[in-house]
């Protein structure tokens, strides 16, 4: 068995960064699966890519601009924007206080 690329602390850190909670039972499984994936993508090292440019986008387009004006057809009325919020007060989203 080859060396582990990730340990459980790495996985917990990733979960924390992504704001996900993991149970203890899940942790080991995720570590193994993430390890397997990272090992698989090592096949890219077989290719020589040093001189290549990055392909950021495959739409074959560049610099798509639009007028810097608000599109009222696309804007949502306040009621619609709030219709799916589970916690709202008056006409606002209600969130936990961040600063004390």
């Amino acid at each position: 068995m080859s060396k582990r690329l990730l340990n459980n602390d790495d996985v917990l850190k990733l979960a924390r960064l992504a704001q996900l909670s993991l149970s203890d039972e899940e942790l080991d499984g995720y570590r193994k699966q993430l390890d397997e994936s990272l090992r698989y993508v090592e096949n890219l090292n077989e290719l020589s890519i040093k001189k290549l440019d990055r392909t950021l986008n495959i739409s074959r387009l560049e610099n798509i601009d639009r007028e810097d004006v608000a599109d009222s057809k696309r804007a949502l009325p306040q009621n619609s924007a709030l219709q799916n919020a589970s916690n709202k007060k008056k006409h606002y989203f209600f969130v936990q206080r961040i600063l004390k």
Binding site: L20, Y30, L38, L44, I49, R60, I64, S86
Partner: protein, 460 residues
Amino acid sequence: MKLHELSLIELIDFIEKKKISSSEVNNYFSKRIERYNKKLNVYLTVPDETHQSSKEGALKGVGLAFKDNISTKDIRTTASSKVLDNYIPPYNATIVEKILASGGAILGKTNMDAWAHGSSTETSDYGTTRNPYDLDRVPGGSSGGSAVAVASGLVPAAIGTETAESIRQPAAWSGVVGLKPSYGRVSRYGIIAMGSSWDCPGPMTHTVEDAAFLLEILAGQDPYDATSSPTPIDSYRNNLSEKKKLTIGYSLEYFKDVDQEIRNAVMNTIDLLKKNGHSVKEISLMNPKYAVSVYMILQRSEVSSNLSRYDGIRFGNPRSYFASEAKRRIMLGTYALSHGYYDQFYKKAEKVRGMIVDDFNKVFEQVDVIIAPTTPIPAMKIGESEKYPFYGEIMDILGEPVSAAGIPALSIPCGLTTTGLPIGVQIMGKYLDESTVLNVGYELEKEVPFSWKDILKKYE
């Protein structure tokens, strides 16, 4: 009259000739949904009334099915995840607007792998959709619900989405036609974003003509999607019957580790094309395993970014509602994008993606289209996918290069295995050359040993 044995175009023709009304058609399919949905688990939401803006236009009031990651105003849209269990979009995706403006309607929303992460519908939080050819098997995914809705005659045609194989693979496993258009040919606005540099909505139908007809409605530049192409769309349907002498390519890299029956069926379609006067040429393409790695890195990275918006504040449930597959992908993407690993993973994958684009460009200097199997094996049993550590990647390996390069590909059924499961062949084309891809599919579908009407006898 068995309306479910008519193609979308035949149905529209019946309505135009006043043999039947669109409400009769929609009621007919609603009744079939009531009868079979429990067995097949295809639809997550069927609105009480058919949402429609007008019966004028090319679709003449006929209702279509939409994959449940396509935003439909006032109709629940979950992406098959409990995170969005109660989400009611306040706006329509551009493609929904286009279907409605063309006289179409929304018959229902179809099941999928949660967030379109998967190739079987088994990751759906609302249960697995069944393959109509064998109820113990998966339909493929992620657009499995849309594929089965069409295959089992619970809608005349459906819309799916594909990031890598999510239209073509379920089309192949469930015996329908599935078109993945070029990236940018069809607007992504209002599709629940997954891999934004990959996502492509497209039609899933009984016939190639239906797919060409729907593509004409769906395609085109959208001011709300900056990656949508300004290149004018073709007359896809008119171009179908044009007789062309083409050069057809095939690469042996795409036949390795492929089931013997599938290999034979696809080789037979190549022989058919040769018999019809096309020239056939063996070409060499990059090993698809590199596209799998590119996909694994870039798609996970985009997933981790796109799914970070689900905070449970503005809409949806909190992040604790994410199931395991989404969590796994978010974490891998978070890792690939994190400080110190970005060059090693994300940047490298972007460079190899460019190699894949160049690889196809070079081959398309010699051939007009490339033929390959859509999947390495036929539909698997429910639960079997757990035995494969890279199940999705193995099932989608033959489709991921196309998605990485952003070119179009069409999967059509080309036969059945001895156990009676559908086999798909895919036709890949040049960027924005959907016309030639559809043209070849149209020619082939008339001659391959497959009839979409046969399975409907099981669902009278």
